[in-house]
């Protein structure tokens, strides 16, 4: 099996160049989709039979939660690849995911609290879904903290990668918590096998937001990874050539 394409991605100048060229292709669709999704969700979608206009928080809450899990999975897989194949760019990729994922975990938790207060009657309970999502935030902060605390870049890469991989078990826990255990948080309406339990006029803007947030994640990672690569490769000649131009 010809793995050249894979190993070429491991080349820092190659990834640097590709990321730079790909980024605009993600940036514009991201902005358009998120704007469309917000308009569709906040203005066009009909109110819910039970939660009225309050349900519209779903259009920022669910995509943020999705991004928080997607970012962690990407981070852990990249860190694993970095550990196994000793690819520096994989660690650069993982490091790029962390601050993004952490922020959107905050967004998911914050919007969730604002939604929970009127609907459930409380900002917070230590239920399996909420608690595991909070654990996810701690894992992100732990990953970033480890990186900052360890001087030697290679040891920092390896230690933080182990943490990222260990924490990966939390991702299915977050998602399936509402099914495996009794939880106050409702089951998924979309991210599941089987028909969505949300009407089409409400579902469409939500799907647009999911796609928009996915592209947003990609765009942000593409920007960040280039900075990471420059920092890691600063001794090398190709960096000198690239920044001189």
């Amino acid at each position: 099996m010809d793995w050249t394409w894979f190993h070429r991605f491991g080349s820092p100048p190659h990834l640097y160049r590709i990321a730079g060229r790909l980024m605009p292709w993600f940036a514009w669709p991201t902005a358009i989709l998120i704007a469309l999704g917000l308009y569709g969700g906040l203005v066009l979608a009909p109110p819910d039979y039970q939660q009225g206009d309050g349900f519209r928080i779903i259009y920022v809450h669910a995509p943020s939660a999705w991004l928080s899990l997607m970012a962690y999975t990407t981070m852990a897989l990249a860190a694993g690849a970095g550990l196994i194949w000793r690819m520096k760019v994989a660690h650069a990729l993982a490091a790029s995911c962390a601050p993004i994922g952490a922020w959107f975990t905050v967004a998911a938790l914050g919007t969730g609290m604002l939604w929970g207060k009127p609907m459930w009657g409380t900002y917070w309970v230590w239920d399996p879904r909420l608690t595991s999502e909070l654990v996810l935030l701690f894992l992100y902060l732990g990953y970033m903290g480890l990186r900052a605390a360890i001087e030697d870049p290679q040891r920092a890469d390896r230690a933080s990668a182990v943490l990222a991989i260990v924490g990966l078990v939390n991702v299915p826990i977050v998602h399936y918590s509402v099914e495996w255990w009794n939880s106050i948080h409702q089951a998924p309406s979309v991210m599941k096998f089987g028909k969505p339990t949300i009407s089409w006029p409400m579902l469409t803007p939500l799907l647009i937001m999911f796609v928009g947030f996915t592209l947003l994640f990609a765009a942000l990672v593409l920007v960040r990874v280039r900075g990471e690569i420059l920092r890691r490769e600063r001794q090398s000649r190709w960096v000198a050539e690239v920044v001189a131009s």
Partner: protein
């Protein structure tokens, strides 16, 4: 319009949620760009220093 702003009485939950999320999106865009431009500027400085020496 006031119907829209009041969000059926849930304005105090919906609008802060939207503002929080949009704020986090904007912050991430700015922070990512800053992270790159700082790395780029630093690399430039290094190259200039090495060429001067």
């Amino acid at each position: 319009m006031s119907d829209f702003l009041s969000m059926g009485g849930y304005a105090s939950s919906v609008w802060p949620s939207v503002v929080l999320t949009v704020g986090i999106i904007v912050w991430n865009v700015l922070a990512a760009r800053r992270s790159f431009s700082e790395a780029h500027a630093e690399a430039r400085r290094r190259v200039a220093m090495e060429q001067a020496s």
